[in-house]
C-alpha cells in the first residue's frame, strides 16, 4: 500500500498550493477513502472511538447490499419472465441465474455509477467552493437513489434528479447535516413529479425490451401489486412472493426479507434507530387495522377491497419496508430527539399506508409520508425539547 500513499504524498503539494487548489477536496476525499488518516486528538479527550462518519455510512451500505444484489437478479428475472425466456429450472435455480444477474447489472450498475458521479461531482464542487472536506453522507444517498428508481429509468433523468437532490435537498440548506429533507427521497420525488411517465404506471417496473424473435407473453401486465390493488382491488401476487421479493417494483424495494435483514444489521450495529423502525411498523399496522375496520363503510367496491386486505400485506407490498429501514432512519432529516423518533416513526408508517390507499393517482405513499414527516420532524423536536425547557423553568420557580 506504500505506493498508493506515495502517490497521494507526491501530488499533495500540487493541490495545496497553486492553481489546482480547488481540487484539494477531491484529493483529500480520495486519500481519506484509501487510508484512515493518522490524525491525532489534539484538544479535549485524548482517546477516541474508532468510529467515524465513513464507518457509519459504510455500515448502511453493507446493510443495503443484499437488497441491491437481489434487485439486480430480480431485474433480470422479471424481464425474462415477461418475455417468457426464464431458465429451464425450478425454484430459486430459476431466479439466481447468470443471465438474470447480468441483465440486471447491465441496467443497474450504470445507474449507480451515474448517480455517484453526478452527486459527488456536486458535493466536491461545493466542498471546494466552501472550503470544507467532502462529507460522506452521499456514499449512502448515492446508492439509495438508484435503488428507489424503476429499472428502465433513463440515465440522464437519474443524473438530473440526483443533482437536483444534492443542490436543493442539501446544499441550499448549508450542506450535510443541515438538510431538512432526505436527499435520496428528494431525488425520487423530483423524478416522480418531473418524469411521471417514467416513474409510475404499469409499464416502467419491468424491462420489456425485446430483440428479434422475442415477444412479451400474452396477457402480460407490468403492474406492481399495489397498482393492481388500486385498479382492481386484488393482486395476482402472493404475500410470500412479496416477502421474498419476486415481484415488480423499484430496484431495491421488493425483497422485504433482505430489507428486514439489513434493518436488523443496522439496529445491531446501533446505526439505524430501532425506535423509528418499530414506530413505523406500529403506525403501518394501526393504519392497516383501521382500514380493515372501516372497509365495509366505503362507497366503491375496489376501495373496499383494497382496504380490507390483511394489515400485514401492507408491510410486504410496495416500499414500506425499504422506506422504513433506509429512508425514515436518515438521522439528519428524521426527528433528533429520542422521544420524537417514536412519534416521527409512527406517523411515517401511519401516513404512508393512508396515502397509499387513498391516493387515487399513485398507489404508494411512503415517499410522500416521509418527506412530509421530514418537514414535520423539527416541529416534533420543538415540542419534545420545549417540554424539557418548561420543566427546567418550573424547577427554577419552585
Amino acid at each position: 500500500m506504500k505506493f498508493l500513499q506515495n502517490i497521494f504524498d507526491a501530488t499533495r503539494p500540487a493541490v495545496t498550493t497553486g492553481k489546482l487548489k480547488p481540487l484539494y477536496p477531491l484529493h483529500n476525499a480520495l486519500e481519506t477513502m484509501m487510508f484512515v488518516p493518522d490524525h491525532n486528538a489534539h484538544s479535549g479527550a485524548h482517546v477516541r472511538d474508532a468510529i467515524d462518519l465513513k464507518r457509519t455510512m459504510v455500515t448502511v451500505i453493507f446493510a443495503l447490499v443484499p437488497a441491491l444484489i437481489f434487485g439486480i437478479f430480480n431485474g433480470g428475472y422479471q424481464h425474462f419472465k415477461a418475455i417468457d425466456e426464464l431458465a429451464n429450472a425450478s425454484g430459486w435455480a430459476q431466479f439466481f441465474t447468470m443471465d438474470n444477474f447480468l441483465f440486471g447489472a447491465w441496467k443497474i450498475v450504470p445507474m449507480i455509477a451515474v448517480t455517484y458521479m453526478a452527486g459527488l461531482g456536486v458535493e466536491i464542487y461545493f466542498a471546494g467552493r466552501n472550503r470544507h472536506p467532502v462529507n460522506e453522507g452521499f456514499l449512502v444517498s448515492g446508492l439509495l437513489i438508484p435503488m428507489t428508481m424503476p429499472i428502465d429509468m433513463p440515465l440522464w433523468m437519474v443524473a438530473i434528479s440526483t443533482i437536483f437532490a444534492v443542490l436543493i435537498g442539501k446544499e441550499v440548506f448549508g450542506g450535510t447535516g443541515m438538510n431538512l429533507l432526505n436527499p435520496a427521497l428528494t431525488a425520487r420525488a423530483f423524478a416522480f413529479f418531473a418524469y411521471p411517465s417514467f416513474m409510475s404506471g404499469d409499464k416502467v417496473w419491468i424491462n420489456t425490451s425485446v430483440e428479434a424473435g422475442q415477444k412479451v407473453v400474452d396477457g402480460f401486465s407490468g403492474a406492481t401489486a399495489l397498482g393492481q390493488y388500486a385498479t382492481t382491488g386484488t393482486t395476482s401476487f402472493s404475500a410470500w412472493d412479496a416477502f421474498v421479493g419476486l415481484i415488480p417494483g423499484s430496484i431495491g424495494e421488493t425483497s422485504t426479507l433482505l430489507i428486514v435483514l439489513g434493518g436488523i444489521y443496522l439496529i445491531a450495529t446501533g446505526i439505524g434507530s430501532w425506535k423509528i423502525m418499530l414506530g413505523s411498523t406500529l403506525g403501518a399496522i394501526s393504519m392497516g387495522l383501521l382500514f380493515n375496520w372501516a372497509a365495509p363503510y366505503m362507497l366503491t367496491e375496489s376501495q373496499e377491497q383494497f382496504m380490507s386486505i390483511p394489515f400485514y400485506y401492507h408491510l410486504v407490498f410496495g416500499s414500506w419496508a425499504f422506506a422504513t429501514v433506509f429512508m425514515a432512519t436518515d438521522p439528519v432529516s428524521a426527528a433528533h430527539t429520542e422521544r420524537g423518533k417514536w412519534i416521527y416513526g409512527f406517523l411515517v408508517g401511519f401516513l404512508g399506508i393512508m396515502i397509499r390507499v387513498f391516493n387515487p393517482a399513485y398507489p404508494e405513499g411512503m415517499m410522500l409520508a416521509i418527506l412530509f414527516m421530514n418537514v414535520m420532524a423539527p416541529l416534533i423536536d420543538h415540542y419534545v425539547v420545549n417540554a424539557n425547557i418548561q420543566k427546567r423553568l418550573k424547577r427554577a420557580k419552585a
Partner: protein, 432 residues
Amino acid sequence: MVGAPSAQVEDFPLGTSFALSPDEYIGIAPKLAVKEGDAVQAGDAIFYDKAENRIRVTSPVSGKVKAIVRGEKRRLLQILIEADAVIRYKNFGAGLPKDAEAAKATLLDSGAWNLLEMRPYGRVANPSDAPKAIFVNAMATAPFATSAALALAGREEAFAAGLKVLNLLAPKTVLSLDKEEKSDVLTQAQGVDLHRFEGKHPAGNTSVHIAAVSPLNKGEVVWAIQAQDVAILGQLFLTGEYRLDRVVSVAGSGMKSPRHFTLRGGMNLTNFFKEEVKAGVYRCIAGSVLTGKAIDAEGYLSASASQISVIPEGRGTDFMGWVLPGIGKYSISRTFMSWLTPGKTYDLSTKLHGEERAFVVTGQYDGVFPFDIYPNQLLKSVWAKDLEKMEALGIYEVVPEDFALCEVICTSKQPLQQMVREALDILHTEMN
C-alpha cells in the same frame, strides 16, 4: 484500558524547577505580583486576578523567580521559579478559623482558594458569591483516576478539618461517594450530607451529583472541590502552611510500572518521565485521558492535576480502515467486529480515527450523558452561540468534562469540550 496503577504510593524528589501557568486557572485574568529575579517564599503571591484581586496564585516553593514567559500580545504563559534547597513556607496561622470571613481570608491569602470551583461556568470560585452548597467529590470514575480513599490515607485529620472549614463557607456540604465505598475516613465523615452514587464514568462527575441532589437553576451557585483537595485545605489550617502535594495516579500503557506518587503541583517532570516512562513515542497527560492536557517531556505538573496518564501517540495511516471488519478496534458502537470481545482491555492511542465532520448522527450521546438535558440540541445552541437557547436547555448544569465521553464517541469528531468551554466563557462575560 491497559496500564492500571497499583495501590502503592511513592515519593519522588521535588527537584528545583517549578512553573505556574495562568491558563490553568480558568476565570483568572492574571496580573503579576513579582518581577524576574525576585525572591519568594512558598505561599507568596505570584499573580492575582485583575477583576477580583483577592484571588491570587501563590508560589509552591521558596526560591527565585527565574523567568516570566510571555506569548503573543505579551500574554502570560508561564512563571518559572527556581526552588531553594530547603523550602521556607510562609505561615498563614495555624488553627481552625472562627467564622466564614476568617476562613475566606486565609484561603484567599494562601492561594488555596483556587481549589474551589464555581458551578455554573466551571471556573475559580468567586468569594463574593453565596453558594447554596459545596459539593465534595470523593468518587473517581475517570480511567485510572486516583481513588479518594487512597489519597486520604494518613490525612484523615486534615480531611476532617477541611470539611469543618467548608461548613463555614456554605449552609450545606455534600459528600458524594461510590455505592461501594468502604473507607472510614469517607463513610464516617462529620458534618456532611452523604450521597452515594453508582455506575461507570461519568457517574463520578460532580455535575451528575449536583443534578441528582440539588439541580442548579439560573442564578444559583454551588462550589465544587475534590476530596483530596479538602485535605490540602485542612492541612493549611492545621499547620498554617500551604502545600499543594497530592497523591497522583500515574498510569497508562506507557508507564514502566504504573503506580501512585506524591507530587507537588507546578513541579518539573523531566526527570520523572525519564525514569518512569517507557522508551517510545508516548503522550503524557496531566489529568485523565478524557479531560487532561498534554504535557511535553520537559513540562511541568499542572496545579490541579491529581493524575497523569501516559498513552501511546497514534501513528500511521490505516489502509481502508473504514471498510475492514476492525477486529481489535475500540468502539462503543457495534460497527466494528470488536464488539464480539466485550471484556477486552484496549491499549488506546491518541488516534482520532477519522476527520472532523458536520453533526449528522443523533441520539449517540444520550447513552453517556446522564442528565435530563438534550445534548445534541444543547450543543447546537452552543455551536450557534445562542445564549438564550443554551440557558433554556440547561448549560448551567454542565461543565466541559461532562461532554468528554460524548467527545470520545462522537462520529463527527467534533471538539465538544472546547466548544462548551468557549460557550461558558462567553456566557459568563455576558451575564456579569
